[in-house]
Every structure is written in C-alpha cells, then in structure tokens.
Symmetry: C2
Subunit: 353 residues, 2 copies
Amino acid sequence: LSTRIFPVIMSGGSGTRLWPLSTEVRPKQFHALMGAHSLFEETALRLAGTRGNLEFLPPIIVAGESHGELIADSCRAIGVTPSAIVLEPIGRNTAATAALAALTAQAIDPDALVLLMPADHIVSDVAAFAAAVELAADTARTHIVTFGIRPDGPETGYGYIQQGEALANGVHRVAAFKEKPARPEAERMLREGGYTWNSGVFFFNPAVMLDEFAIASADIRDDARRALNSARRDGVSIHLDRDIFGAVRAEPVDIAVMEKTRRAAVVPCSIGWADVGSWAELWRLSEKDAAGNVVLGRGAVHDGTNNLLHGTNGVHVAVAGLSDLVVVATAEAVLIMPRARAQDVKTFIPPKD
Amino acid sequence: LSTRIFPVIMSGGSGTRLWPLSTEVRPKQFHALMGAHSLFEETALRLAGTRGNLEFLPPIIVAGESHGELIADSCRAIGVTPSAIVLEPIGRNTAATAALAALTAQAIDPDALVLLMPADHIVSDVAAFAAAVELAADTARTHIVTFGIRPDGPETGYGYIQQGEALANGVHRVAAFKEKPARPEAERMLREGGYTWNSGVFFFNPAVMLDEFAIASADIRDDARRALNSARRDGVSIHLDRDIFGAVRAEPVDIAVMEKTRRAAVVPCSIGWADVGSWAELWRLSEKDAAGNVVLGRGAVHDGTNNLLHGTNGVHVAVAGLSDLVVVATAEAVLIMPRARAQDVKTFIPPKD
C-alpha cells in the first residue's frame, strides 16, 4: 500500500536580504539563484509522482495574494497543476499557514500526509531528501516530523534540533528546539553531537497537526478554519478574506506548535539543504572560477578575485580591479558592497518614491 | 554691420571611454553628463541669436548617418531648426568634416563665418566664450582661429598651442601646435608660459579654410565637394553616398590643415572648457558632496568617499562600504572599477553577441 503525500509549498517569505533581486513584488522564491528554475519551481518539481511506495499528489500552494499571478505563471512554466492554491491577503506567519495546509489537505484527501516546505530553500540532493521522507513516512502518521540537517560548521544563522530517543530506524524524538545560537553555544552543540539544523520542513498527518494545535494555539487553527470556510473559491484557487484571515493570530509554527507538542520527531539527514539568506552565502554555496569569482547572468571580472556578480534582464556586469565584492544588478537597482557587508542589505534599500 | 556666423556642430565622436553610458548607438554627445541637456543640445544652445554685433545663424550639423534620428529628436527637444544636417555614412575624420562644413556654409551664405565645434565638449562660461568669439571675429575673416584654453595644470591629455606674435587685441599667430606632451614637457610649457590647450574649436571664413586645404590636402576638399554634390537631399538633411564619401582620405584637420597653414591664429581664453574624456575626469569636474561623492541620477553611498555614481533610466545605484570607485549603470550594462582604472574602460567592453 502506498503512502499518499501532499507537498505543501509555503511561499510567504519576502527575502529582502537579497535585494535588489528579491523585492516585495517578486521575492526571492521567484528567482533562479543557482539553477535554471526559480526556487519556487525547484520546490514544486522536487518531489512529484511515485517514488518507491510514496505517491506525491499535486502540490498545495499557500502564497501571498499579490503573488497569485507569479504562482500561476510558475506552475504553467513547469507543467504543474496544483491541488489547491490558498491565497493569503496578508501574512499571518507560519502557524496559520500550517493550519491552512492541514485543513486544505484533509478536505481533499483525509488519508494523505502533508510535507510542508518553504518555497525558498535549496535541496541539492533530492534523492537523499526522498529517502529521508520515505524513512519518516510511518512516524509521520503519528508525529510531526522535522528534517534535521547534519551541520558542517557552527552556523549561527539557523535554529538547532536536539535529538532524543529513537522512534524508528533513523527517526528520533525531538529532545529540544534551540533558537539561533551564539557562536560558543553553536560550537558546544557541534562538539557534543546529536544536534542538527532545523530545516523548517515539516512532515505530518493533518489530523495530528490539527490536534496538536489544541495544546496552546487552538485559536489559530479555528480562525484559519473560519477563513477557509468563508473563502472565495475560483477553480483551485482559494481567496481568503482580508478581514477574516487578518484576525488570525500571527505566530511561527515552531512556537505555536513544535516547541509545545510531545509528538515532534526529527530525521537527521544530509540533503544539500541551504536557506540562502544573503549574497555572501550565495557566493559561498556557488561554484567558483579559478579566481574565486561567481558570475551569475552576463558579466566578467577583470583583475579581481572572490567576487559575486549577479545580473538579470540581460544586463552585463563588468567589474575591474576589485575583489571580495557583491554586485547585483537589476532593471531597477544596482547594489555594490563588500561581501562582508552582506548582512546590512536592508539598510541600503532606498525609501519608496 | 553685424558678423554672421554659422555654428557648425561636429557630432562624430564615439566616446567609448565613457562606456557603458556612451555607446556606438548613443555616443557621449547624446547624454547629459553635467546638466539637464545632452552635450549635443548644450552645444547647439550655446551660441544662438544675436550677441553684440555677432549674429548666429541656425546651426549646421555634421553627424553620423546612424545618429540622424537622435539629431532630429535633440533639435526638436530644444526648438532648434538647423540650417543643414550633413549625414556621414562613415566617419572620415575631422578634415573631411571641416571641408563639408566650409562647403555647406558657403553654399548657404558665402559671407558668413564658420564656428566649428565638437558636439561633446563642455563650456561652462558661455559669456567668456562669446567674448572670445567676438574678439576673434575680424581675424577669422583672414585666418583660421583656434581657441586656446589657459591651462590650469600640466595636463598630458590635451594638445598644446604655442602663441606667436600678436595679430590683434587678444589674438596671436600660432607659433606651433604640440601633440599631447609627456609630463616633463607639459611642465616645461606651463613654466615658460605662452602655451594654451587646443580646444578643437575652429573659427574661420570658409573661403580661407578651403584655400588652405590646397597646401597639402586639396584631395580631401575636392572629394568632400564631390560627395556633397552627389548627396541625396531631403529637406535640410544631406545624405552623403557611402561609396563616394568613403573615398575621402581620413585625416584630422589638425594635421591636414592646421599644422601646415601659415594662417593659424589663437585666442587664449578661459571659458570653463573641458573635454570629458573619462569617468575619472567627470568625477574631478563635478560638484561633490561632503564625502567627496558624486551621485548623478538616482543613488546613494553608504560609508564611502570619493565615488562617482552614474545611473540612467531611473536605476537606483547603492554603494556601501567602498571608496574611490566609478559605478556606471545603464539598462544594458553596469561598470564598476576604481577611479584610477578609468583609462582602461575600452578593455572592459564585452564583445558583441
């Protein structure tokens, strides 16, 4: 008997640290950062059809209402017909999104599991990811499974998951979630072992997720249900009402559910995962030429090393006699800064006209 | 009795050292470098109507055939109706252009003088320029007058003119033209005095100019005449035939005529003249903010000094934590280099697709 799974794509991020490429109008997930497809498209293409005894159903998408057209265009471009597109007129954080995902999946196929994935992450080893999903499928009937990325350094930009007792082969109970740590704390966890990075991917039986909301966040689940029940439906698109959905309490699912539930599980895995949160990180993750330069789009470096160039719309980026820079050029703006300043991007965004 | 003068605008330069703003399709003279108008428009607006006893006739324009539309648009934008627009299907250097200018002016009004000016220079003190033209008007009936810019440093990027005996108040015979000098030579000339920079502006009676071509370059004059006689005329536009005009010998007027004629004169003057030949020079000439930054178009510098930012098409240029750079952004390309590399621009232009 096969396990049916709804991939649910959460397309709520704004990604302003990747300005000027990523903007409110066209955030990070709708850009190709490291391949031919946008991150959203890669996420939608990642798991589809049948893999072993897993059957991936057409995805459910939860996205901002203003990105409805980008979603439609992206799905058309890759030949994907979603099971449903839930359009949020306003962002209410990931607990609301998880409740919408569980309720929408349950309404279409109550026996299917939900694999909830952010639209803007990179997974370069899809086979390993599919294997981890397969490993976790049984546990996901009774637990909310997270995917814990085996750390390759004392990263301070991610949350950590501490493994508890084994629940099944390769699956552990979560002992604790740790917020983004300071450097010494990150180093201690790496030294001790048994910690992984929280990838923000969740795998669960919608009935279990909805039950677990009852512990401390029943209001979010109930208000999300009310928003779905009152939504305007148009084909697979579900348009939530701004006032009704706007009344849902905004909280990350990590706080609303995961840190409180006793049914959190983790599958430690190595799947080439990355949440590209800055231009410096994109440079670190990208393949470099002999001089350490990364040229995405059209461009060239003359006498310079370890630069990241990112041109869009056919713009040619020429850098001469300079090193360790990030240069990002779009039709609207050009950003030039040392790679070391990549965390400060938000302060360089000009005020709106 | 007033002196009638045809301003003749030579719009032949390509200005690739100001890439990516300046391109073959839209060279330097069709961009606004330091003001609201393009350099071409500023040149066409510079001297018009009556000034004292000088009467400036509608200009004659000599330009590349491929820029006919840019010329027409520019003239329309500033409300100028040219006396003639001579369109060169191929560049044959400035001697051919000077011959075309003299022949065209003579055909329209044989008594008018010609004031031949490159379209891509800056003259910030127009009153001083007009005064110099007035001072030289009598001499220009019998001589080819050049405008010698009083040097403010041992510049090695310009040719120099050595003054000879006085011909009239403020007007000297040219003793010698000196090619762009090495630094010690430039310093020597500055120390000795009696030298000025060759502005490339010529003021003459067309009959005299055409006579002086006879010394060593009669072929250029005769072939240019043949091209004009066989040209297709369309209103004020004169379209030269590619083959016939292409047969004209290509030589700078400085070599073909000026270095050989005994009728060269110079008016030393200070008219705020500049031939903006590089991005570094534009930075040097522009008004700077307290941090030494020049921001042309939209843009901002965060923590950085002495940068030149030039954005076009509404693109916002953001530079952070960097100094002494040139950043030029157009819809087609972005160039980033240290100001000190500004002379190398040509090597950064990508090959055509």
